[in-house]
């Protein structure tokens, strides 16, 4: 976490006219202050608090989202123009957004959250996140992507607060990307993820925050588990258990990694490694419909070392998960589960608050 913060400080130190940060949600804004930009744009999802609560990693993080509106308003008052775009889950930092500026970019699997970017009280752990700096041509593509995101609809602005439905406008043309991958609108993330599985000769390592046993990628991964050395690192939450059990039964080495949040596919790491790092969970929302962003890494990419180190460091600390004989039901889970704890918070579900033109 501290390393990520330090890298973000270095990244944001050089003065630029404009910068943009994208994520799924905002629960921490201090990190943005290190960005030395005259203008700052923050884009997150417009997912209502209810959905975020159930996507949150713990009751504590769920509670963080309760303050979202106040935080967003504060952010939009002092620091940035804040736009909430439906389905936005991509996570990125871009400096040098203005015309004529040379863009620099970072893909960071973490959100603008305390869990990803801030020291936590004793007993709590930070999420496991991966940060990769983009090459110049990738940053240029990210710049193109941010322009597309800003035109995406429906969207809501926090200030000036807009609540009326957005005018129907033709969808913006898909950005032309060669290095970066998307879910919406091109679904190149899912395509490249499956291509990596097909290309794998020896081993496949997956890190994930959420998996769904009905997702095509997960089923394809299960098929590969009988042929290759497949390793999965993911939180063993009730929501993930069906997929983890399914994969374990098919021969995958499943490791329970409670704080895993990065989404990584790494194949043949000891021979001819290839990788993909993205924001997309291995489920319908991530692979089929969301606004997600991914990066493919070829065998000659020096950043593969960072990916391998990230995985290698975590595997010894994550216990094996054995397949349960009787699959547990999907969410809602049994009494006493995490999801039930979240439900017990009795969080209110407000309507959408903002809509941008």
């Amino acid at each position: 976490m501290q390393e990520h913060r330090a890298r973000l400080v270095v990244f944001g130190a050089a003065k630029v006219k404009a910068a943009m940060v994208g994520g799924f949600a905002v629960s921490q804004i201090e990190s943005l202050r290190s960005l030395n930009a005259e203008r700052l744009y923050v884009v997150t999802s417009d997912t209502d608090h209810h959905s975020q609560r159930f996507c949150a990693a713990s009751p504590e993080t769920a509670a963080e989202f309760l303050d979202r509106r106040a935080l967003e308003t504060r952010l939009a008052t002092d620091e940035a123009m804040v736009r909430l775009v439906q389905g936005h889950h991509a996570k990125y930092w871009l400096a040098g957004l203005a015309h004529g500026e040379v863009p620099r970019g970072i893909l960071f699997s973490g959100d603008l959250s305390k869990r990803a970017l801030q020291p936590l009280p004793e007993g709590s752990t930070n999420s496991h996140e991966l940060m990769l700096e983009l090459l110049p041509d990738e940053a240029a593509e990210l710049k193109e992507f941010t322009r597309w995101v800003m035109q995406a609809r429906p969207a809501y602005d926090v200030l000036p607060e807009t609540t009326s439905p957005a005018a129907k406008v033709p969808p913006p043309p898909a950005p032309t990307l060669r290095r970066l991958l998307l879910t919406k609108p091109t679904k190149t993330i899912a395509a490249h993820a499956q291509q990596l599985l097909r290309q794998a000769q020896v081993s496949i390592i997956i890190t994930a925050w959420r998996l769904d046993d009905e997702d095509a990628f997960v089923r394809m991964l299960a098929d590969k588990a009988g042929q290759l050395n497949v390793t999965v690192l993911a939180p063993a939450t009730p929501e993930n258990r069906p997929a983890l059990d399914f994969l374990a039964k098919r021969g995958a080495h499943v490791h329970a990694c409670p704080s895993m949040h990065a989404k990584v596919i790494l194949v043949d790491q000891d021979s001819s490694p290839l990788a993909m790092v993205s924001s997309a969970n291995f489920m319908h929302e991530g692979m089929d419909v969301g606004i997600e962003l991914g990066l493919k890494l070829g065998s000659d990419d020096s950043r593969l070392a960072e990916v391998r180190a990230f995985v290698d460091e975590l595997i010894p600390h994550c216990p094996h998960v054995m397949a349960e004989s009787t699959p547990k039901p999907k969410v809602p889970a049994v009494k006493g589960s995490l999801s039930q704890q979240l439900s017990s918070l009795s969080l209110q579900v407000p309507k959408r608050l903002y809509q941008a033109e």
Partner: protein
């Protein structure tokens, strides 16, 4: 909208007179044409009776000729021959002639014609006919008019009537050129009689150089002028009154297009609401009138001035929505056009420079970002 209300003391004139209006296609015009045809021979009452009435209405013929002489159109010699006078020649040239409309005792409320009149610099007299038996309390003979500026308009009016010049009278909310021919009133035994009356007046103006009298109310104890309350309502007047009032408001002189053209000097932002291209409501007192200034359209003297106004309100305009460059260009163009500058098209470079400059001056990075949205995402 400019509004003014206050109390004003106006002079009044009571006069017994024939009232003639200047009209086209009248029998008087036919008489003048006949006199023109007869030339120096002149037209007698017998001639007129013969030609107009078939020798059946000699008295009427005499009356018509006498009225024309009274109005100044004809001159009559000792033989009873009538010839065109100068006024008659002018009438024929204009195709109009004075036609007797009515006779009686008239009261005139003098609202214009003097520096202290309600309508400074403009002739204007509201007239009504009163019953000859009506008592005229507190009226004075003409000789007793005080030698004060308030009475100048009345003096000029009497001079005009004495000289047989036409005067502008308002009747039924219409201004009519009128000829008053005074005569001694047999019932009251006077020729002229004057006094003053105090009115509460409310006027409004859109800033187009015209004022409309909305209401006139007589002060307590002056029921004898109550008829004027309606006579003057709706009266549209133009004159120095507005010119006198507007400098007090610091507005400059209204342009013919109805806008107030501001001097190309520093603008007092406290008194002008440039966001709405209008003068902010404000209050002033002058000439005994309490003025309220509502929305008045402003016009810039140049595109640069209008752009300067836009910059001064850019925070309000641009902060109300996140806009693209194109939208900002449309916003600026609309603003400049509303300021009276036509055919101006703001360039993308101008808007970019404006946004960039304004973004830098924003109090927070958040606001700078919203303003700069057009720069970064257009």
């Amino acid at each position: 909208m400019l509004r003014a209300h206050g109390h004003i003391q106006l002079p009044m004139l009571a006069v017994s007179a024939d009232l003639s209006l200047y009209r086209e296609a009248s029998h008087v015009l036919a008489l003048l044409q006949l006199c023109s045809d007869y030339g120096q021979t002149g037209v007698s009452a017998d001639d007129l009776d013969d030609i107009f009435f078939g020798r059946l209405r000699r008295q009427t013929a005499e009356s018509i000729l006498a009225q024309a002489v009274t109005d100044g159109s004809l001159a009559v010699d000792q033989n009873g021959s009538h010839r065109l006078a100068k006024y008659g020649v002018d009438s024929l040239a204009e195709g109009k002639a004075w036609v007797l409309e009515d006779s009686g005792l008239w009261t005139l409320l003098v609202v214009g014609g003097g520096d202290r009149s309600l309508l400074c610099g403009q002739q204007g007299h509201v007239i009504r006919q009163i019953d000859g038996r009506e008592e005229l309390p507190n009226w004075h003979p003409l000789e007793n008019i005080p030698n004060q500026p308030e009475w100048d308009a009345l003096r000029r009016l009497i001079e005009a009537i004495e000289a047989k010049a036409s005067v502008d009278l308002y009747r039924d909310n219409l201004a009519k050129k009128t000829l008053l021919t005074p005569k001694v009133d047999e019932s009251n035994g006077f020729r002229w009689c004057v006094r003053t009356a105090l009115f509460e007046v409310q006027m409004s103006s859109s800033g187009d150089g015209w004022w409309t009298i909305e209401t006139m109310k007589q002060a307590d104890g002056q029921s004898f002028v109550s008829e004027f309350n309606n006579e003057a309502r709706g009266l549209k007047v133009q004159g120095r009154t507005l010119a006198q009032l507007q400098p007090m408001l610091g507005l400059g002189v209204p342009a013919p297009d109805g806008r107030v053209r501001l001097p190309a000097v520093d603008i007092d932002h406290d008194s002008l609401d440039l966001a709405n291209l209008a003068v902010k409501p404000s209050r002033h007192d002058c000439l005994g009138f309490h003025l309220e200034v509502g929305a008045l359209p402003l016009v810039a003297s140049s595109a640069e001035q209008a752009m300067g106004w836009f910059v001064s309100v850019a925070n309000q305009r641009l902060g109300s929505a996140v806009m693209t460059i194109t939208q900002v260009m449309q916003e600026v163009d609309a603003y400049v056009k509303a300021a009276g500058i036509k055919d101006h098209h703001t360039s993308e470079a101008e808007v970019s420079a404006l946004l960039s400059d304004f973004s830098l001056r924003s109090p927070s990075r958040a606001e700078a970002s919203r303003i700069g949205y057009g720069l970064d995402f257009s």
